[in-house]
Subunit: 318 residues, 2 copies
C-alpha cells in the first residue's frame, strides 16, 4: 500500500512517524511544506522538512516538537554573545532563532549540497539518506515559495518573524504564498500523488502548513483527480489547536474554529475526515461537506500513540 502524506508542522510529522511504523516505510512518501523556509545566518533552514526528518529518524524531542533530542546550544549561545556587542544592527541578526549544535549539522549539510548546485529535492533526499530514513521525503517545490503574513495592524511579516520571533501572537488579516504561482512541484511530487493508494493530510495548520503545498501549481489538480483514498485529520480538537496557532489563524481569517471549519477548506479534495472523539457531535456537519466522518482518539502523545492513530486511520478507511 503506497501512502502519500501532505505535511507541514509537528502534528503531521508525528503522524508520518506513526505511518512509518505501520506501513512498509519504503512505500511512504511525505510531501513537505517549504513556505516556512528561511535563510538563517547564511544557511537555508527548512523547518518543516527537518521536523519530518527528525521524526522519521526517531531522533526528535517529541514533547518540544522541534529539533533533536539531547541537543546542546554552544554555537547559539556564543552567537548571542557576539550579537550583544552589535546593538546597532542586532535587529537584523536573528538571534531569536535558536539553532542547536546537532541541528546545525543538518543545515550545514543542506548548505553544502545547495552550494554544489543540487536542487532542494535532491538535497532533501540526500539528507533523508544521511538520517537512515527509507521513506521518500520531498519538498513541495525546488523553487522559493514563502509564506508571508499580514497582521491586523497592517504589518507584513516573513513567516519566521511572525512565528518564532513574535511567538505567533499577532492576529492576521491575510496570508500569502509568495512565489507560489511561478513555482513548479519538485520532481516526484505529482508522481507520488498519482501513484498513491492512500493520501493523507495529517493534523496540520490548514492555512500555514497545508495551503502553501496546495498553492503549488498542479498539486491541487493532482489531488482532485487522484484515485487514492484521501483522508484528512483535524488539527482542531475541542475548539483548540493541538499545537501552534491554527485556532487563532482560522478565527482571524473568518473560518469556524472546529473540525468542520478545517474540513470546509478541503472540500472536494478529501474522501474521509478524521475528527477527535470529543468532537463526535459534528459528524453530520462533516457529512454535509460530502466527506465521510471518522471519529478517533487523535492525540499523539508519543510514537506509540502516533502509530496507533495511523493504524486506526488506515483501518477506518480500508
Amino acid at each position: 500500500m503506497r501512502v502519500c502524506a501532505i505535511a507541514g508542522g509537528v502534528g503531521s510529522a508525528r503522524l508520518c512517524a506513526g505511518l512509518a511504523r505501520v506501513v512498509d516505510r519504503r512505500d511512504l512518501t511525505v510531501i513537505v511544506n517549504t513556505g516556512d523556509d528561511e535563510r538563517i545566518r547564511g544557511l537555508h533552514v527548512s523547518p518543516d522538512i527537518d521536523t519530518v526528518l527528525y521524526h522519521l529518524a526517531e531522533l526528535t524531542d517529541w514533547a518540544r516538537g522541534w529539533g533533536l533530542a539531547e541537543e546542546s546550544f554552544v554555537a547559539h549561545e556564543r552567537y548571542q554573545r557576539l550579537v550583544e556587542r552589535l546593538p546597532e544592527i542586532q535587529d537584523d541578526l536573528q538571534d531569536w532563532f535558536a539553532l542547536g549544535d546537532r541541528d546545525l549539522a543538518t543545515h550545514l549539510l543542506r548548505g553544502r549540497l545547495l552550494d554544489l548546485g543540487r536542487p532542494l529535492g535532491e538535497v532533501t533526499q540526500a539528507l533523508a539518506r544521511s538520517f537512515g530514513i527509507e521513506s521518500n521525503v520531498l519538498p513541495m517545490s525546488n523553487d522559493s515559495v514563502r509564506t508571508v503574513v499580514t497582521t491586523t495592524k497592517g504589518e507584513r511579516l516573513d513567516f519566521q518573524t511572525y512565528f518564532v520571533r513574535r511567538h505567533h501572537s499577532d492576529a492576521l488579516s491575510n496570508v500569502e504564498y509568495s512565489g507560489a504561482t511561478e513555482a513548479s512541484p519538485a520532481h516526484g511530487v505529482i508522481e507520488a500523488i498519482q501513484a498513491a493508494d492512500v493520501i493523507t493530510i495529517p493534523p496540520s495548520n490548514p492555512v500555514l502548513s497545508v495551503a502553501p503545498i496546495l498553492a503549488v501549481p498542479g498539486v491541487r489538480t493532482a489531488l482532485t483527480r487522484s484515485a487514492a483514498t484521501r483522508v484528512a485529520v483535524s488539527p482542531i480538537v475541542g475548539g483548540r489547536a493541538l499545537k501552534g496557532p491554527a485556532d487563532r489563524v482560522m478565527a482571524s481569517l473568518g473560518h469556524e474554529v472546529s473540525p468542520v471549519g478545517v474540513a470546509g477548506m478541503y472540500k472536494g479534495l478529501i474522501d474521509f475526515f478524521v475528527l477527535d472523539s470529543v468532537d463526535e457531535s459534528r459528524r453530520d456537519d462533516i457529512e454535509a461537506l460530502e466527506m465521510r466522518p471518522v471519529v478517533l482518539d487523535t492525540i499523539m502523545s508519543g510514537p506509540e500513540e502516533a502509530a496507533r492513530l495511523a493504524k486506526d486511520i488506515l483501518d477506518a478507511i480500508a
Copy 2:
C-alpha cells in the same frame, strides 16, 4: 604611532596580538589575506581573518594555532556521522574540515551579514566589534581572490584541499592567486598603508599568506611609496618554518629556505628585516638586499613573548 600589519596565518596573528599589547590598539590596522577563504558547508569561512580576530580577542588556542580555546565539536561530529551514510558523495562534503561549535558562531554571523548584502570589509569590521576588538581588521579585498596551487604531479588544488585535507604534504610547482588581477583593495586598505608610521610583515608564509595580499592591485605600489618604516620578520628560523609548510613551499618553488630567501621576496618593499638570533650569520646577506638586518629572538611561545617581540621590533627600528 600608527601601525599597519600585512597578515596571514598563525605567526602573523601572534605578532599582531603582541603589537596590540604594546601600542594603542586603536592605532593598529591589520590587513588580512583572504586567498585561503573557502565556502565550507554553505558558509563563507575566512581562516586567516578568524585567526587574527581570535588572537586579538585573546580567545585563541595559542598552541594549536587555529580556532578558539575551550572548543567543542558537537556539530562537526554529528556532520561526520551524517556524511558516513552518504559514501557515494562523501568526497564532496568537506568532512575533513573541522568547524568547532564556538567557531561556528563566527561563520554564522559572517553568513548573516553577507546575506544582508554587506561587503566583506564591513562584515569583518562588525565581527571585530562583536569580539570587542578595538583594532581595525580588514580583508585585503571584498572581491574573491583564491589561492590555487599546482602540485609537482600536475594537480590543481584549491587552498583548503591542499592545506587541510592533504596536510600541505604535496610538493608544489606553482601557486596562483585566482581573481587577484580583477580585485580591488577593500575600503581602508590603501588608506591604512598610506597613513601608517610603521608597516610590518609579521612572520608569515611569503608565498601563501603575504603574496596574495601583494597581488591585489594597488597594494604593492602603496607599500613601495609609503613613507612608513617598513619591517618584515622571517618565518624561517634555522632553515625551517616555525609553523606550516613555508620551508617546503619555498624549496619547491626554487627559493632559498632561509631568512635571506624570504627577504629576497620583499626586495624594495622593506627597510628592516628581522631574523632570528640562530640565523645571525646571515646579517650581511640581508644587507646585500638593501635592508637593515635586525637580530632578535623571534619565537612567540605565548602572548607575553609575542608582546616582547613586538616591543623589540619597534625599539630596533625606532
